[in-house]
């Protein structure tokens, strides 16, 4: 059966990095094809080659047998290749209808036909069976709904091939199920779908075939049903993986010591109802809950990003006031935001500058780190966290997502914090880097740090935490510890079904 899309011998080089070398990739009409690989394996680059963001240096692309060479996203769109990118690429201040039709608004002579714009937006949403007010401002919608709008926008053109680059990263389970329903429907209509994801269970839930990349090269193409999960992970990592890697469990620590960080009745109206929590040295406490349950809001309050309405905070027994992240850092707190791009990286600055900025901020502007100290810190962390970068002077935006995340972790570790809050530290990074970060968390715990670990992935929480606090509807509703932690119990707590 001929492919709808055939890529042959694709090569792409960036300064200092070979991103893709001789990659073949075939997608048939009416199939969902998963594209898998570790961070920096070349998935995003392959997508960008396909959609004309970064034209390939070598190789050819055929769509329905025709040789194409898209040089810009708009051209790819015109050819029938529509893409929904990892991070929602829409305009928050415009309406849903405007976002769906942006760049191809119906109208004549420079005048917009608003009725046609709304009609087309409604039709696009109806095809996805999504209920949404097309006049609502996009920024007022949930991230999940914005994602749906992004897909509706992609389908608004006469797409033959739909590329979904990690569409589920910010969706909860119900929304993922809805998305899968839509994907199956589109597959039934004969569309080819490329599905990039890090969630292996989603690969098995929805994809027909899959292609694995590693270090910019093709590992192979397989029918999903023929490849066991373990074999797949082995192909992605290029090594055999034992089941034990995924089932390690954390023993509960002796939590009799004085807490490093304790809060009583800390709350903020509209964000989170007053919570009590205490973090001890040498423990990983999980903060569980569904999307929108108030996890990030709690972290932001703790770190002084948002002002609290009420509550007392104490660090190592001494009452303190945390009115800004600056205060928090000085008290030995650290916070890795879930939003790496907007709240984490300084994109145009070097890996070195990104790494030292928090430590330097803590020391103040006058006590500048010497060049030798900076080099020593960078050398240490690049090696210890296995950060893949050409050198410490590379701008951080040139690194893959997982490596950016490692630099941000290093930024905080350099400040030698007593408490570190990790908000979705493994979001959007591949399984290998995920494992490394989990190992790192275990090491931090052993080193005597208090870790507050926020994650949407239940398995991850179960694997890493010795205690889990569960939030639901913006209040703290439960806590389980030690051997009691299992995914079933957690899900009940998160859903609120344990009470009935």
């Amino acid at each position: 059966m001929p492919g709808l899309l055939e890529l042959r011998g694709i090569g792409k080089t960036f300064p200092g990095v070979v991103a893709l070398a001789g990659v073949d990739f075939t997608v048939r009409a009416g199939e969902i094809h998963a594209l898998l690989g570790e961070n920096g394996a070349g998935k995003s680059t392959l997508i960008k080659v396909l959609t004309g963001v970064h034209p390939a240096d070598a190789g050819e692309i055929r769509l329905a047998g025709q040789l194409i060479r898209p040089a810009a996203p708009k051209e790819a769109e015109r050819l029938g290749i529509s893409t929904v990118y990892q991070e929602v690429n829409l305009v928050p201040s415009l309406s849903v209808a405007e976002n769906i039709t942006l760049g191809r608004q119906p109208g004549a002579l420079g005048f917009l036909n608003w009725r046609a714009i709304r009609r087309r937006a409604r039709a696009a949403l109806a095809r996805l069976e999504v209920e949404c007010d097309v006049d609502a401002e996009l920024g007022s919608l949930s991230v999940a709904m914005q994602q749906m709008v992004a897909i509706a926008r992609a389908l608004d053109t006469s797409a033959r091939l739909l590329v979904l680059d990690e569409p589920t990263a910010s969706l909860d389970e119900k929304e993922v199920a809805e998305l899968f329903g839509i994907m199956r429907k589109l597959r039934g209509e004969g569309m080819g779908i490329v599905f990039v994801t890090h969630f292996l269970n989603q690969v098995y839930a929805v994809s027909d075939r899959l292609t694995v990349l590693r270090n910019g090269q093709l590992v192979g193409e397989y029918a999903t049903a023929d490849l066991s999960r373990l074999a797949l992970v082995g192909k992605m990592l290029g090594r055999e993986v034992s089941e034990a890697d995924f089932t390690s469990h954390v023993a509960a620590p002796a939590a009799t010591t004085q807490p490093v960080l304790a809060v009583r009745g800390l709350g903020r109206r509209g964000a989170i109802a007053p919570v009590d929590l205490a973090l001890h040295a040498g423990e990983v406490a999980g903060l569980g809950g569904l999307l929108g349950s108030g996890r990030t809001e709690t972290a932001r309050l703790l770190f002084g990003i948002d002002a609290c309405d009420c509550g007392d905070v104490s660090v190592k027994g001494a009452p303190v006031r945390i009115a800004s992240p600056r205060d928090a850092v000085r008290l030995g707190l650290a916070f890795c935001s879930e939003n790496r791009k907007a709240e984490g990286i300084l994109p145009n600055l070097s890996v070195r500058e990104n790494l030292i900025v928090a430590l330097q901020g803590k020391r103040g502007m006058l006590r500048a780190l010497s060049a030798a100290e900076q080099a020593q810190l960078c050398g240490h962390y690049i090696k210890a966290l296995r950060i893949k970068t050409a050198d410490a002077e590379t701008p951080i935006r040139n690194l893959s997502g997982g490596n950016q995340q490692k630099v941000l972790l290093a930024r905080w570790l350099a400040t030698q914090p007593a408490v570190i809050i990790l908000d979705e530290p493994t979001r959007g990074i591949d399984i290998g880097a995920k494992q490394e970060i989990e190992q790192l968390i275990a090491k931090l715990r052993a080193d005597g740090l208090a870790v507050l670990f926020i994650s949407s992935e239940i398995d991850e929480v179960v694997r890493n935490c010795s205690r889990v606090l569960v939030l639901r509807e913006r209040r703290l509703t439960g806590e389980i510890a030690g051997a009691d932690i299992n995914s079933e119990k957690l899900m009940h707590l998160m859903a609120g079904t344990h009470e009935s």
């Binding site: 300064p15 992240p325 300084l346 994109p347 030292i356 900025v357 928090a358």
Partner: protein
């Protein structure tokens, strides 16, 4: 890409060299520097002296632009401090007090901008536009709508004097450039400014006092403009609230951008700004030498700025790279 990150001043330096060459071809006397009464004279010295005020304003502007902002009020601050100098000196006050008051006025103006932008979150263009418009009125108020002539030889010396045969104003400005450069790079302030300009939210989350750093940039910019106002008044021996510092904000922004600091904030280059300011002053002098009428003088200026900006753009760089072999993308 590599060459550009290593040397953001390459293109403005080439532009400057080309302009000097053009002038030298037109009239070899352009390059001539003579020693008269133990003082250096000549067109290059004139350019340095006349350009020193723009350089000074551009120095402050560099830091403001690096934080992702802009300060449109610098021209009006020049007028204000000139007026302050004239009123105090003619009122019989000492030079030291006058200079302190002028510098103070610049700092106050910068603090007002910093307060509006950094604390109250007003858009930099709007916030500084307020002082740009109101400041000139304030200057008029100080001198009561008159052009006040200043008769004070020590004051005049600041702009037109010589020390060891060299003109005072450019020496002063060069000293400030060097001091600023070292103050920014030997402490962590330079890094903090670049971090805040590159991603303010991320910088704040990393524990930097982003608002304070931004305010500091505006205050420094106000102080620089205040000092430039002193030099401007000393140069013409008068305070002209109406014309002093007119369009200076634009020249300063041009100098900063041509010198390789992006208007979007982040990376800045103090050296680049110095070269950029010199480039603009040389162009002004060149047009004067070539007899271009002042009415159409902005046109060649605009062409030069477009040219240098294009050479610095990544897109054009890639496009040119097509002719000269592989060049960096992304």
């Amino acid at each position: 890409m590599k060459a550009k990150t290593q040397s953001p001043v390459l293109w403005p330096l080439l532009g400057l060299a080309a302009l000097v060459l053009l002038n030298a071809v037109h009239d070899i006397g352009f390059l001539k520097i003579t020693l008269l009464d133990g003082h250096l004279y000549g067109v290059p010295i004139d350019i340095l002296t006349q350009g020193s005020r723009t350089m000074l304003v551009a120095l402050g502007m560099t830091l403001v632009i690096a934080t992702g902002g802009v300060d449109l009020s610098v021209g009006s601050v020049v007028a204000i401090t000139g007026a302050v100098c004239a009123v105090l000196l003619q009122g019989g006050h000492s030079l030291a007090l006058t200079l302190a008051a002028a510098l103070g006025a610049g700092v106050v103006a910068g603090s007002a901008n910093g307060l509006l932008v950094a604390r109250l979150g007003v858009q930099p263009i709007v916030a500084t536009l307020i002082l740009m418009v109101a400041g000139r009125g304030l200057a008029q108020l100080i001198v009561d709508g008159q052009v006040i002539i200043i008769k004070n030889s020590a004051f005049e010396y600041l702009a037109n004097g010589f020390v060891l045969g060299l003109p005072v104003a450019p020496l002063l400005v060069a000293g400030l450039f060097l001091t600023t450069h070292f103050a920014l790079r030997r402490t962590a302030l330079g890094l903090f400014i670049e971090a805040v300009g590159d991603n303010e939210t991320a910088s704040r989350f990393a524990g930097l006092a982003a608002a304070r750093i931004k305010a500091l940039a505006y205050i420094f910019c106000g102080a620089c403009a205040g000092l430039a106002g002193v030099l401007a008044a000393a140069n013409i021996r008068a305070a002209d609230a109406y014309r002093a510092g007119e369009n200076m904000e634009l020249d300063a922004i041009f100098a900063v951008v041509v010198g390789g600091t992006a208007l979007s904030g982040g990376r800045f280059s103090i050296l680049g700004t110095a070269v950029g300011a010199l480039l603009i002053q040389t162009l002004t002098t060149t047009m004067y030498n070539l007899g271009v009428s002042p009415a159409i003088a902005p046109v060649p200026k605009a062409l030069l700025i477009i040219g240098v900006s294009l050479l610095q753009s990544d897109k054009v760089g890639r496009w040119l790279g097509g002719f000269f072999g592989k060049k960096a993308a992304t």
